[in-house]
């Protein structure tokens, strides 16, 4: 915990690019040696939207991709803060604290790695699938509007499968339908290792399936955060170690350490 904190940096960065990449998601790009150094998939940053403290609190975003010193953040407009962020053009400056939190663990030997992403939970898993050899990336969304352009997935290892709620792209239904099918194709599902990030309802369904078939895995749990450094105790998660702040003890937690229902 302390070592992770000692590496974090708070820096004003210049936006290099901030553009819409599909009907729903924006991609923000900036360069920073400090905020890119040693970052691993699953970690996050806290972005101060305006220097005027309005909106007041910083917003947490997963690291999406690191290319040298260039950092990419994928986001969706979910409220006033992300709305303002989407209006910031090249050359705008924002203050960012990072890298924060603990990452997903690396693929296990002799395990089939399955990443299950839902909605805007996708970025850390794309980052993971670019950095590691994985077997499957299952992506769920409401509709085709959320589907990433092919260029965004060109470096992803493993097979990419989509499921959309309305059936407008990939399999119709929830992403857990894809996971369920995959589980049933296995001789022994316990050889799978599932890593997930997305809406809590989806992650709970993934955890329930994993528990049913004794599949190990990890989930990135994002409770509403204030500080991002373990001080405000706003983002607590019930684990085998007790009630711990998601921002410093997580956001990635092993399935078997989670002692609460996410919904």
């Amino acid at each position: 915990m302390s070592s992770a904190r000692s590496k974090m940096q708070d820096e004003v960065v210049t936006i290099l690019d901030n553009r819409k990449i599909n009907e729903k998601y924006f991609k923000l790009t900036f360069a920073s040696k400090k905020l890119s150094r040693g970052v691993v998939p699953g970690q996050f940053l806290q972005l101060q939207i305006q220097p005027t403290f309005d909106p007041l609190l910083r917003r947490p975003f997963s690291y999406y991709r690191i290319k040298g010193e260039r950092v990419e953040v994928l986001y969706e407009i979910l409220g006033r803060g992300t709305g303002i962020l989407s209006q910031k053009g090249k050359g705008s400056r924002v203050r960012i604290l990072g890298p924060l939190g603990n990452p997903f663990s690396k693929p296990k030997a002799k395990k089939t790695t399955v990443l299950v992403a839902g909605g805007i939970g996708l970025p850390p898993l794309v980052f993971f699938a670019e950095k590691n050899k994985v077997d499957y990336l299952l992506i769920g969304g409401k509709s085709k509007a959320e589907v990433l352009p092919k260029s965004e997935l060109s470096k992803v290892s493993g097979k990419v499968l989509y499921a959309t709620n309305d059936g407008s792209y990939g399999k119709k239904g929830f992403v857990t339908v894809l996971l369920d099918e995959l589980i049933h194709q296995q001789e022994d599902p316990r050889n799978l290792f599932v890593q997930t990030c997305g809406p809590k309802v989806m992650m709970q369904a993934v955890i329930d399936l994993a528990r049913k078939y004794e599949i190990p895995g990890e989930a990135s749990i994002d409770e509403t955060m204030g500080c991002g450094v373990g001080a405000c105790l706003g983002c607590m998660v019930e684990t085998d170690k007790g009630l711990v702040p998601s921002c410093v003890e997580g956001p990635v937690f092993a399935f078997d350490s989670i002692r609460q229902s996410l919904v």
Binding site: T52, L57, E223, M236
Partner: protein, 329 residues
Amino acid sequence: MTMNRPKQKNKEAKTPAAVDMTCRIKDLVFKNPVTVASGTFGTKDEYTSCVDYEKLGAVITKTITVKPRRGNPMPRICETPSGMLNAIGLQNKGLEDFIENKIPYFAGIKTPLIVNIAGEEENDFEILVKALHAHKKVVKALEINLSCPNVEAGGVSGMKKKEKIEKIIKTVRGETDLPIVAKLSPELGDVIEIAGEVLRAGADGLSLINTLKGLAVNIRTRQPRIANVTGGLSGPAIRPVALRYVYEVKKNYQVPVIASGGILTADDAMEFIIVGADLIALGTANFVNPTATMDVLRGIETFCRNQGIMSLSQIRGTFHVPPRQSCWQ
């Protein structure tokens, strides 16, 4: 504002005379007025990568209770206009853990440690004070939390009886000669009147203000945005309220005041000092800007130098209202 903060490599070394920033509560002297509001700075070393704890005037801990507390369900925080609501619910690991695991850490730091305490049961304050008084080499003062809006027992609603507040302060006073500061909130009632009572009961100073109870609604689900329904409002949204109470209390009583309530910048801090605040406690600011305390400290010094003020005592309490113009009829 934060974009323009001065570089770490400070220019103070080049400046011949340092501004005298000292302040005091009873016999306890603080090298500068910058401290942190209880509950916003973790319990031990959460901010060490951003803040030099030795540069702070004091460190005020998160509230310690006799027994461990799990706090309230999630979500516990949400953003509001220029503020945030929190209903953490005094989560802490209890007195025993604090003495065993936190006090040794602060023993290695020269900055005075002020421990914030709250009671849930009748004799909790007695237990807390006795235990902490035994560590007076490290614990330099006590802040008595009389105004948490997010708990039932020991919270603001239970403290609305004046006799109860008076009894708590007398109990604490009877057990220690450490400086004691009562943390009050407008939620308790008439702050000026209650301030008088706690001072008569033996408090050495006041801490003003705690959060104000508020509500935020999710209009889609038509439910509260935090699980506890209501929470404590903090941040710049409450700054004018805090400023008013510090001003009015200082006008009535010449006692040390630790001021908090939406202080984010050195300019905010100067407003409080001008109306008479002795110490300045940054709270929500730490969440927004982890180096806020250091920025404010540098900013106060810079402001003073630019104004030709060599001691904060020259400007503290200098607020004055110009003669009133007659009303336009």
